[in-house]
């Protein structure tokens, strides 16, 4: 039983990896036109970022996908480093973190939504 769960977990990870490296719609808010080579996906579900805390190596591209029926705006706490357009349902936004540090971010229109990325 444990093994089955583990396999399902692995399958889910593969799907997640596919989701974040492929299927970027044209015209959406990507930081560059490239597909992220070292991609990590963050999902927006029910007014929260998931996972809310991530540790990644420098050079990793995070791609946020909005699964909610309402728009969200992914914004760094300093309002300068990164800020997405209003992401409608299924829209993506990507940003590549090149320097180590702790980066807190929130949704500019639902500021109760907060999360953190640690870049090593």
């Amino acid at each position: 039983m444990k093994r089955i769960k583990w396999i399902f977990g692995l399958a889910a990870m593969v799907v997640t990896a596919l989701a974040c490296t492929g299927g970027t719609k044209p015209g959406l808010a990507m930081s560059s036109g490239d597909k992220p080579a070292n991609g990590v996906a963050v999902k927006i579900d029910n007014f929260s970022f998931g996972p809310a805390n991530i540790t990644i190596p420098a050079g990793t591209t995070i791609t946020w996908t909005n699964n909610d029926d309402v728009p969200h705006v992914v914004t760094s706490d300093d309002n300068k480093m990164f800020k997405s357009k209003a992401l409608d349902t299924d829209d993506h936004f990507s940003f590549t973190f090149t320097k180590p540090g702790t980066y807190r971010y929130y949704c500019a229109i639902h500021p109760k939504m907060t999360a953190k990325i640690v870049v090593q």
Partner: protein, 321 residues
């Protein structure tokens, strides 16, 4: 709700017992009357046809309508045609026995601040038989250009990010903006510039002046866990403490709620687009899906009647059903 009911202070024939009786036979709308800062509430039959409602209408010095959260551009399952339900709201306004002096739109006109969404909203609202429409922005209206587009279209002659005040037949109306420059982890925010303006704006008003404040996000802590409140609303309300009658009208939460605190009555309006869940009853405040034939029961507009002297503000929430 029963906590808000008081005795028959103004001898208007509506006491607690009457209220409860009405509760038994109505249930789709609500009539709120305010007497000297005390809010009374009675549900109202759809169609605004109840005797109690008509009694309240009589003798009103003027009336206006609050409309909120049109979300033009939204097309998800909760309501695939928000333009149609906004049109029904306008039709409802136009079928009022007495035309309102004006409309207040308490924000989220659009879903994504798109020009086409604002165009559609303006086009539909233009059909309302009302003197003019006063707006305040919702967070959905300021998603691009730091709200410039909203200001160009709806915020001419306003201050700062779109706040302003005006007087109408002895009452002072204040439109506030609490959806911009929000801080990570926080709630709605008015900001120091707006607060300073507000303090100056009411400085020379007589304390007997009825004050009606309208803003998108509630100016009271409805449910901070979902962001339903405004961080610096206490300070704003502090400037209004000396006034004998203050009414605060908000949108944002897509459901009717009311609260009385001293001389301040808070009221939130229904949306014309989709309902949102009762605080804490869902994983998030996202749009609530209801059966299609029930949707119009949970959308609506608010008719507000003002009676000078009696300091009476009667708010009638009518569903679109």
């Amino acid at each position: 709700m029963a906590d808000f009911i008081r005795d028959n202070i103004n001898k208007d024939g509506i006491d607690r017992r009457g209220f409860l009786q009405c509760m038994a036979w109505a249930g789709t709308g609500a009539l709120y009357t305010m007497h000297g800062g005390i809010l009374k509430s009675l549900p109202l039959m759809q169609g605004a046809a109840s005797g109690m409602n008509m009694a309240k209408m009589k003798g009103a010095d003027f009336s206006f309508i609050q409309i909120s959260d049109s979300h033009i551009g939204f097309s998800k399952e909760a309501n695939p045609d928000v333009t149609a339900t906004l049109q029904i709201a306008v039709d409802r306004i136009n079928s009022s026995a007495a035309p309102p002096d004006f409309l207040l739109h308490t924000g989220d006109i659009s879903q994504l601040s798109k020009p086409s969404e604002f165009d559609t909203a303006e086009q539909v609202l233009k059909g309302a038989k009302a003197g003019r429409i006063f707006y305040v922005p919702g967070e959905h209206d300021v998603l691009t250009d730091d709200g410039k587009q909203y200001l160009d279209r709806f915020g001419k002659d306003t201050k700062g990010k779109g706040w302003y005040s005006f007087d109408h037949k002895g009452a002072h109306f204040i439109g506030l903006v609490n959806v911009v420059d929000l801080k990570a982890g926080g709630l709605g925010s008015l900001g120091s510039d707006q607060l300073k303006w507000l303090q100056d704006d009411v400085r020379n008003l007589k304390s007997s002046t009825p004050v009606i404040v309208f803003a998108h996000i509630p100016l009271w802590a409805v449910y901070p866990e979902w962001g339903w409140g405004t961080d610096d609303s206490e300070q704003a309300l502090g400037y209004l403490k000396r006034f004998g009658s203050v009414s605060v009208l908000n949108g944002h939460i897509h459901q009717i709620m009311q609260k009385v605190e001293g001389n301040v009555t808070f009221h939130t309006a229904l949306s014309t687009a989709f309902p949102q869940p009762i605080p804490g009853t869902a994983p998030s405040p996202g749009p609530m899906k209801v059966p299609a034939d029930h949707l119009r029961n949970v959308l609506g507009i608010s008719h507000v009647n003002y009676v000078q002297g009696a300091h009476s503000l009667a708010i009638v929430d009518s569903p679109l059903a």
